[in-house]
C-alpha cells in the first residue's frame, strides 16, 4: 500500500512517467491547505515542496517523494498543508486514474 511521503526509486518514477503527466508549478503555489484532501496524488520530480502546519514550515520535501495517495483514495483530509517552495515539476496522479490502477 502507498503511504504519503514514501520515496520512489528512479525506476518506479520512470515507469510512472509513461502513464502520468508531469507539470510545472510556480513558486509559492499552494498545492493543498491544512485539513484539505489533496485534489490529486502527487510525485515531486524536480524542485522542493514545503510542508506546513499553521502556516509554519515543518519540513521540506525533495524529489521522488509521493504525496497524498492515501488521503485521496480514502477521503482523509491532510493534517499538513503543502506549498511549492521553488519552481517545481510534479507528476499528477488523478483520483480516477489511481482508482483504476489500484482496481478500486
Amino acid at each position: 500500500m502507498f503511504r504519503t511521503k514514501d520515496k520512489l526509486t528512479e525506476e518506479q518514477v520512470s515507469n510512472l512517467k509513461k502513464e502520468f503527466e508531469v507539470l510545472q508549478f510556480e513558486e509559492d503555489t499552494m498545492l493543498f491547505y491544512e485539513n484539505q484532501i489533496p485534489q490529486t496524488g502527487l510525485v515531486l520530480i524536480e524542485g522542493e515542496i514545503e510542508v506546513l502546519k499553521k502556516s509554519k514550515v515543518q519540513k521540506i520535501i525533495y524529489p521522488f517523494t509521493i504525496i497524498g495517495i492515501n488521503q485521496i483514495i480514502n477521503n482523509i483530509p491532510s493534517l499538513l498543508g503543502h506549498r511549492v517552495r521553488t519552481k517545481s515539476r510534479i507528476m499528477v496522479l488523478a483520483k480516477s486514474e489511481i482508482k483504476k490502477l489500484l482496481q478500486l
Binding site: 507539470l23 503555489t29 488523478a94 483520483k95 480516477s96 486514474e97 482508482k99
Partner: protein, 237 residues
C-alpha cells in the same frame, strides 16, 4: 488519526439541475460523485493560481470566489465573482493552457474538484456535458463582450451603477422595500471590477447615497431605488 470525510454526493447537490451535469443519467452523476474531491476553502485561500496548469474542473457548492488577473505591474483586476452552482477552470482546461486568472475565496466555500481525465471520460460517455459547456462558454463570452463595451463606452458613474445592479441580480436579498447585497466586497475590489480608483468609487457611492439610490449600513449596501440606478447605468444600448 484524521477521520475519513464523506463528501456531499452529486445526486443531492441542490445545483445539479442548473449546472453542466444537469442532464446526466443518475449512474453517471454518481460516478462523478465517486471520483470528485470535495474541500472547504476558508476566506483568503486560493483555489487555483494564475500561471499554473489546470488539473481539472471546479464546481462551487457554497460560498463566493473571486477570479482575478494580476497585470504586468502587479495590479489586480477582478474579472468576476463566482458563486454556488458555478463551474471554474473549464476554459483553461479545454484550451489546454495555463490558468489566466487566480481564484481566491472571498466567503468560506465548499468546492468540488473533478480531475481532467475523468471529465474527458464523462464527456465521451455523455455528450450532454459538452452542450452545456458550450452554452456556459457562450454566456461567459457574452458577459465578457458586455464588460469590454462597458469599459470602453461608459463613464465610471455608469459602470458603478451597472455593477450594483449586477450584484443585485446575483446576490440581492429583498428586505421590505429595498435589496440587500449579500456579498462583502471591499471598495478596492469594487474599484478593480470596474477599472477605476478606490477614491472614485467612494465618491460615487456617497453621491448615490445622497441621491437616495442606495443606503449603507456598515459595509453592507442596500439598493433602494432600482429605477434610478438603472437609468444611471444607461442600460439602453
Amino acid at each position: 488519526m484524521t477521520k475519513s470525510f464523506k463528501p456531499f454526493s452529486c445526486e443531492h447537490c441542490k445545483y445539479k439541475d442548473q449546472g453542466i451535469f444537469c442532464d446526466l443519467k443518475p449512474e453517471n452523476l454518481a460516478a462523478i460523485g465517486e471520483n470528485k474531491v470535495m474541500n472547504v476553502f476558508k476566506k483568503g485561500q486560493t483555489v487555483f493560481f494564475q500561471g499554473n496548469p489546470p488539473l481539472g474542473l471546479y464546481c462551487i457548492n457554497s460560498g463566493k470566489i473571486k477570479l482575478s488577473k494580476i497585470g504586468p505591474e502587479g495590479k489586480e483586476s477582478i474579472i468576476r465573482i463566482a458563486g454556488p452552482g458555478d463551474v471554474l477552470g473549464h476554459r483553461s482546461l479545454f484550451c489546454n493552457e495555463k490558468f489566466t486568472a487566480t481564484a481566491t475565496v472571498i466567503e468560506d466555500s465548499a468546492v468540488c474538484f473533478i480531475d481532467k481525465k475523468f471529465i474527458y471520460h464523462a464527456i465521451e460517455k455523455d455528450p450532454s456535458i459538452s452542450l452545456h459547456l458550450i452554452e456556459k462558454l457562450s454566456r461567459d463570452m457574452g458577459k465578457a463582450e458586455d464588460r469590454a463595451a462597458s469599459l470602453a463606452q461608459k463613464s465610471v458613474r455608469e459602470r458603478l451603477a451597472e455593477l450594483l445592479l449586477m450584484l443585485k441580480s446575483s446576490y440581492g436579498v429583498q428586505e421590505k422595500n429595498r435589496w440587500r447585497l449579500d456579498i462583502k466586497l471591499t471598495r478596492e475590489e469594487m474599484a478593480s471590477m470596474i477599472g477605476t480608483a478606490n477614491e472614485t468609487i467612494i465618491r460615487f457611492i456617497s453621491e448615490f447615497r445622497e441621491l437616495g439610490m442606495i443606503e449603507q449600513e456598515g459595509k453592507i449596501i442596500y439598493i433602494v431605488d432600482e429605477n434610478q440606478l438603472t437609468e444611471t447605468a444607461n442600460l439602453t444600448y
